[in-house]
Subunit: 319 residues, 2 copies
């Protein structure tokens, strides 16, 4: 009989969350440890293995687990390593999939967070039944998971799908965290929205609820709250953000002609404030042959569970 | 025993060329008809079938042919149709693969020219053994065939891979044949090179061999000839063209992280005049994780045969 459960592990800079998941995408048992408490990765894996054994035993033991999927920043599917992740305590190249598998005795696959999100949407979410789609993660940064013909695009080195780093402004572009200028991420991430807010407040004179805040402390959440109250300047910030995303999406469609582009992550909570300008801009910039063909959707994974679900979906693909 | 041959058909606006090809990429028997002589597509297919039967009989009859591959402008692999091709005599949606198969009694697959080129490189050319690469065709327009994990990227509708129409200049971009502005094709095609030449000659005052020509009649070949003679302005035109291509390629790498990008088509004959600035610009614009990893190569298909070979390669994939 097919084993009925998988385990998903989401590794973040602060917390590592894990859970046992069934084929319908229900998290049955879950746990968490503090990533930041373990400067030595061996200690981290030992503690994680303890937590995993607990939830696996609750589910019925390792005989009922088909595989373990891990979503981690800078995770490379091909070699199961985390490579030089700036936000994790371990800077070198860590063979994490192998280390976990050795401790727990279950096959482990690992990929980056955005790829995990894409597999999650395909298995349990908005992309069920689709073979060609792109998930765009809008958080602190902008990430992407690209699916072509039913398979995740890894590229020849395992690092494909860095769509937050296509260049949207080739002149006078904003400095991006990657060291280049004009990247999509510098405009369309949560951080990018806050930067746009500071820029608008400085160069314009119109009234705005955002003027009550210290400019340097403004977050994308503040911009959302103001826009939700009808603040014209805040609404315009989301329009500007959506416009750049739509321009980028039209180029992505010229590449892989996906059935849908799915928005995932904190900033996607802005809903229509972001979606309406994205749609308008994407269609305005679209090559004619693609006009009106690509759906724009929100993630259908429950936010608190999404990262664990996405990672767990990788477990179903293990032999 | 596996059937030893395939047939490739390359449909252009002027000529249709076809040939019987073996597993090593040798064209054994070939023929051609004038595409433009047949305003009725039924007459065209009848004449084409006559020519095909001739070369197939020379090869030993249809029992030795595994399949027929067709490369055609606006060809859609999914439904075997040519759809609204502006440069062919038949404007509507033509089920060409089915029509040819009905006449000849051999399975037929059809795709667009750039996709055929990509399969050709993978089967007989520069991409043998590669699973992730992109072919960029530099001719009158700019086309692309993208291979991910060993499979051509068709997208959900069969039209993926329009990389000539990503937007490279979002302000004051050149008008493109597609009706939008700033497309890669408007700069990096043979036509784009000629436009750059006219632009440079008008706004600059430095001497150039190109000033001996009537500006409106200048072609990319003229620019190449001048550059080959050491003309500084002509060399700079190729540098500008290569710079824009390199910027675009860095974005393509962020999408699918290919092992190689392969240049195909007439403009690729410019060789190092184009390749050196492309490489410089691509690496300058590359996200760090991809730096130095993606090869830039020229097509290894003999130019006169390339289109037929590319189309024929599709024949091997038929059941």
């Amino acid at each position: 009989m097919e084993k009925p459960y998988v385990v998903g592990i989401d590794i973040g800079g602060t917390n590592t969350v894990f859970g046992v998941v069934d084929a319908r995408g229900q998290i049955l048992y879950s746990g968490a440890i503090k990533t930041g408490n373990f400067p030595d990765v061996n200690d981290y894996v030992s503690e994680l293995a303890k937590g995993l054994k607990l939830v696996i035993n609750q589910a019925g033991g390792k005989e009922v687990i088909k595989g373990i999927g891990v979503g981690a920043p800078n995770g490379n599917f091909f070699n199961g390593c985390i490579e030089f992740a700036p936000n994790l305590p371990w800077k070198e190249k860590i063979p994490l999939a192998q280390m976990i598998s050795d401790k727990v005795g279950i096959p482990v696959a690992l990929t980056n967070d955005a790829n995990a999100a894409a597999i999650g949407e395909m298995t349990y979410g908005a992309a069920r039944g689709m073979k060609d789609f792109i998930v765009i993660t809008l958080g602190t940064g902008v990430g992407s998971g690209i699916v072509v013909g039913g398979n995740l695009v890894y590229g020849h080195d395992g690092f494909a799908g860095e769509l937050g780093h296509v260049i949207m402004r080739r002149n006078n572009g904003r400095l991006c965290g990657c060291g280049r200028t004009g990247c999509l991420e510098a405009y369309a991430s949560a951080t990018g929205v806050a930067r746009t807010a500071r820029e608008y407040l400085e160069i314009r004179n119109d009234a705005s609820l955002l003027r009550d805040l210290a400019p340097d402390s403004i977050t994308s959440k503040d911009v959302y709250d103001a826009a939700a109250k009808g603040d014209a300047l805040a609404i315009e910030i989301f329009e500007k953000t959506g416009t750049i995303l739509g321009e980028a999406f039209a180029d992505f469609v010229a590449f892989s002609s996906p059935e849908a582009i799915i928005l995932f992550g904190g900033l996607a909570k802005a809903g229509d404030l972001l979606m309406i300008p994205i749609k308008r801009s994407m269609e305005k910039n679209m090559l004619k042959v693609f006009a009106g063909k690509t759906k724009l959707l929100f993630s259908q994974l429950k936010e608190s569970d999404a990262a664990v679900l996405g990672a767990s979906a990788l477990g179903w693909e293990l032999k």
